[in-house]
Symmetry: none
């Protein structure tokens, strides 16, 4: 029933390149969609892909810009390989800052392309699997970054989602404010510990009467449970 063929989206403004990519990667067993522009790509549901192949030089919206949108606005961690004729050190750095997983300069051999695609899909595949963790009436859909309360999705911001997902996926486990800060905000970012309290208050409010499922054990931290 489940089709586990990997889906790849290739975006390039040259029809020829798209054909070459599509033909060859399809032959390797991948399901390949193509777009002739970033705009066209953005109209699609990008969450279902396992890999993006992005040409850097696209019309008004460049491949870099598209990658940035994918990462930041759509919040997808799907791997990206940039295709480009430009090969300056500068471009490389920009690409990797946006979370590019690889970088392929045109002209490239199909053999090289498919090797990189395979390598990247192999190492990234596990996290692309939708993981639904359920506790009580709550379901965490990590692939789409959504949390459902009795089948209704909560309207959570990113930080709120991260915290609640952490709690639900570790129901019963107590997290101190610092645990939460390091897991959700990261270890470099410096914010007041009280930020955690305020964010949790916001989550509770959005959870309505279920808000009291986020418990606090004074002196220890917060946890999820009934």
């Amino acid at each position: 029933m489940t089709n586990d063929r990997r889906r790849i989206l290739a975006v390039d403004d040259e029809e020829d390149i798209l054909e070459i990519l599509s033909f060859n990667l399809s032959g390797e067993g991948y399901k390949v969609d193509t777009c002739i522009s970033a705009e066209e790509a953005l109209r699609k549901d990008l969450s279902g892909y396992d890999l993006f192949l992005l040409d850097v030089m696209l019309g008004p919206i460049s491949g870099f810009k598209l990658a940035e949108k994918i990462r930041k606005e759509l919040a997808l961690t799907t791997p990206v390989i940039f295709l480009t004729a430009r090969d300056s050190e500068n471009d490389r750095i920009t690409g990797f800052n946006l979370g590019a997983d690889d970088y392929l300069a045109k002209p490239f051999s199909i053999r090289e392309l498919s090797a990189r695609v395979k390598a990247i899909l192999r190492r990234s595949s596990p996290e692309q699997v939708t993981m639904a963790t359920v506790a009580g009436d709550f379901t965490v859909d990590t692939a789409n970054k959504l949390i459902y309360s009795e089948s209704v999705p909560l309207e959570l911001t990113r930080k709120e989602y991260e915290i609640l997902a952490l709690f639900i996926c570790n129901a019963g486990k107590i997290f101190s404010r610092n645990d939460i800060l390091s897991k959700v905000w990261g270890d470099e970012v410096i914010v007041t510990v009280r930020t955690v309290d305020v964010t949790i208050a916001r989550i509770r409010k959005k959870m309505g009467e279920k808000g009291n499922m986020i418990k606090n054990k004074s002196g220890y931290g917060y946890y999820f449970g009934d």
Copy 2:
């Protein structure tokens, strides 16, 4: 030198499933041990594993029961994934109350399994420095800062936990009030020595009839024992 391969224990009453699990997870680089029953699992030293995969439906001792024993009697916080054909909401809740980290309904794809195993091991690995010390019917779980009395966690505040943990982990050793003050409150904080008496009275009350296991030797101090 150090072998950092993660150790997984799979418990299932179907030989076939064990083989599939063992074969596939070994292929992913994990060290996999298998047991055909909960009883067999309980004869092993379970403290060395990084993850348990437990079938819910096992002979006399179910997977839930086994998980409960692992959590409460052995005081291990090792993550658990339940494998089961049963998929009712009821089962889910029971599983999460026991601290299941995930839940996988049979039949499951190996890909899905390995994704979840990887995800759980990644997030659980750093903090799993659980130290369980047992004395009498009491177990101290230093990782989660919990003390169990006959498998039931005591509702201790921070200071109360610190004192009781000190006593249990050094059962029989006598601590003067000043010993306790310097170990629990620290050397900078200045509080009355009688604070210790009051706090111990509070612990005793929360321990119920077991409260008399905290002894006092007049003129010397307090200690734990029967």
